[in-house]
Assembly symmetry: C2
């Protein structure tokens, strides 16, 4: 009997690409026949996936006979057997860079990775909170130029840019802010630009590289001056009908609470920011251990409602408030047990976020690398 | 600019199969070339999908030249152009029946459909609440025999059985109840048997044939003597790590409420069943309009938390309590607006469930028809 569920989301094309890339990353150049065996994909699917990866310049294909002795030997065997030339598929580390950007409230971060998911450059600068968005984009472009010069990177085969911004981004990217960011960057780099909320991108990064790596379903909550979140299912960020899936900061903790700027009432974000003001900052709130128990319990209740809805494999909690350590996590975990179905908490891991300042920028890279070509095409059209 | 998001879940193989089946359902037998154009799939993907559908006996392929004049003419043109024989792909209405069963508390229902999603037979019987599960399975098998005899159906090419049971079903199907049901039915019919919670199957049915048909993401809530739900994303039921995604009845409405049998505290289900007892039945609770406002508001708050988590396109509410009509839906909608992010409620439809007694059985059929072959294979292994 199988011990884990394959899960309805496992069949995403992206996870197939990931399987192929993983095989190439760990085993070097392979023939298509070897790839079929090692990825356990059908020939037709593998062929389609390799085609896509070739188009993205993520992989290259060359006639067998190169320096990789073992692979060539196998390939030669196939040549004899089939009577037609055999080629090797390998990662293209020189091509297919992806750039991730985080245009945050007070910080701009740029990270560059190759299609093999290897980070090749990363840096950030602070900026004033009131910096206009057009100016933030200029600063980010300057940072890209600086990084590519410093690390001698060529953007000739840039796969795309993934950019995190503050505030919700509707799926069709119709907000003024995201349209401006996308248009400016698309004009400058001439590649598809994906814009999403930076907390949601941090969620994707945690699920790809961080505390939720290798986990099928990750619910991410960021506890900072703002409270946001994201939901990653089968390695992909759930957008939701209005681009607001994972808005855990706007789940109500007080049905009679004050009106929130989001349109809701008694939201978790509002409750926390009220307390931060009351205590005179995060540091002081975190030090008030008795209050932290109540605060963490409220947070746990919100997470419990979200977990009863999606029954994730892992909850990842990030943001400054995690500085409270076990004063936060102990009562939070207790509340999660207290307010979820046994079937939900029995299969749940609660983890502290593992990534730092560059989480959202890394999420931008993951967004580029995990977006299927047809969506990329659609987004490219929408911004040209 | 695109007006709707393609959504991360649209690339599921199943939706590709659905596209092919829809084209065949609406346009009759087509050549592969025609299918490629009309489904907007790549040749490689189409070929892989047709292969799968052939293996499932959902479609048949025959050399052009049959009685379908128009298609043959097109095919003949291709024959001349390409110099190789052209075949037509068409639905196989005779083969690939799927059986859905609902083994409910007090009712057993069996529905039979063909792979074209057309219901060909459906009937139900009542049973005592204490009927043992082995006996329920016997009764359901009897009902299948009766229906196939009455409608002269052959189960020779049965694609599978989808069965709804009461209570949670872990993804690997390890509960005693679901294992018993699966083993008995697999032994009797020799096909893959899929078992899931019957409320979750009703959710899938509403998203496939009912109030959520054609909608990308559907959150379903059933308000009956028990309260359950399900979440359907991209046409597929989200299982969750413990098979409990969509357990909205166990979201807490009272943090100081009594302990619930699920392990939680102050759950919506507990709150409602307390009120039903207090009023002496559903009918009387529904008639108490003042109470209904508060009840519907609590339900709306629970839905709001769930909607802030997944931002669905539609909420579908079913079960006996919907008999209250606008006394339920008006305050429920008001609470949803009051306690969700603007971005969440702006894109949200709230609908009453459209299907009746056979909803869970129909969901069983949808489960069979939407489960990719590799998962079917896995489940077959797990029960043989």
């Amino acid at each position: 009997m199988g011990t884990t569920s394959p899960g309805p989301l496992r069949l995403l094309r992206e996870s197939h690409e990931e399987r192929v890339l993983t095989a190439l990353r760990t085993q070097g150049p392979l023939t298509r026949a070897q790839l079929t065996t090692r990825t356990n994909l059908s020939r037709a699917t593998l062929s389609s996936i390799v085609q896509t990866l070739l188009a993205k310049q993520a992989v290259t294909e060359a006639a067998a006979g190169g320096p990789t002795g073992e692979a060539v030997e196998v390939a030669a065997g196939r040549v004899r057997g089939r009577g037609r030339p055999v080629s090797l598929v390998g990662l293209n580390p020189a091509g297919g860079l992806a750039v991730g950007m985080d245009l945050g409230h007070r910080r701009i971060h740029v990270t560059v990775a190759n299609v093999a998911h290897e980070i090749v450059a990363s840096d950030g600068i602070t900026c004033a909170e009131r910096t206009p968005w057009a100016r933030r984009v200029e600063l980010a472009i300057g940072l890209v130029d600086e990084l590519t010069a410093r690390h001698q990177l060529s953007l000739a085969s840039l796969a795309g840019l993934g950019v995190g911004v503050v505030g919700p981004v509707p799926p069709a990217g119709t907000s003024d802010r995201s349209a401006l960011v996308r248009d400016e960057l698309a004009a400058r780099f001439g590649v598809p630009v994906f814009v999403d909320n930076n907390t949601r991108l941090a969620a994707l990064a945690e699920a790809t590289w961080g505390a939720g790596a290798g986990v099928e379903s990750v619910l991410y909550l960021r506890l900072s001056y703002g409270v946001g979140g994201g939901l990653v299912l089968g390695g992909r960020l759930l957008a939701g009908a209005g681009g607001a899936a994972g808005e855990l900061g706007h789940i109500s903790v007080d049905r009679d609470g004050p009106r929130c700027s989001c349109g809701g009432r008694g939201c978790l974000e509002q409750y926390l920011s009220g307390l931060i003001d009351e205590y005179g900052g995060f540091e002081k709130l975190i030090q008030a251990r008795d209050s932290m128990t109540t605060v963490a319990t409220r947070i746990g209740e919100v997470l419990a409602a979200a977990c009863n809805t999606v029954n994730p494999e892992a909850v990842v909690v990030g943001g400054e408030m995690t500085g409270a350590g076990e004063d936060l996590f102990d009562p939070l975990r207790a509340a999660l047990r207290e307010y979820t179905h046994t079937q939900v908490h029995r299969s749940l891991r609660v983890e502290q976020a593992a990534l730092g300042y560059d989480a959202a920028a890394r999420g931008g890279i993951a967004l580029v690398l995990t977006t299927p070509p047809e969506e990329a095409e659609w987004r490219r059209t929408s911004c040209s």
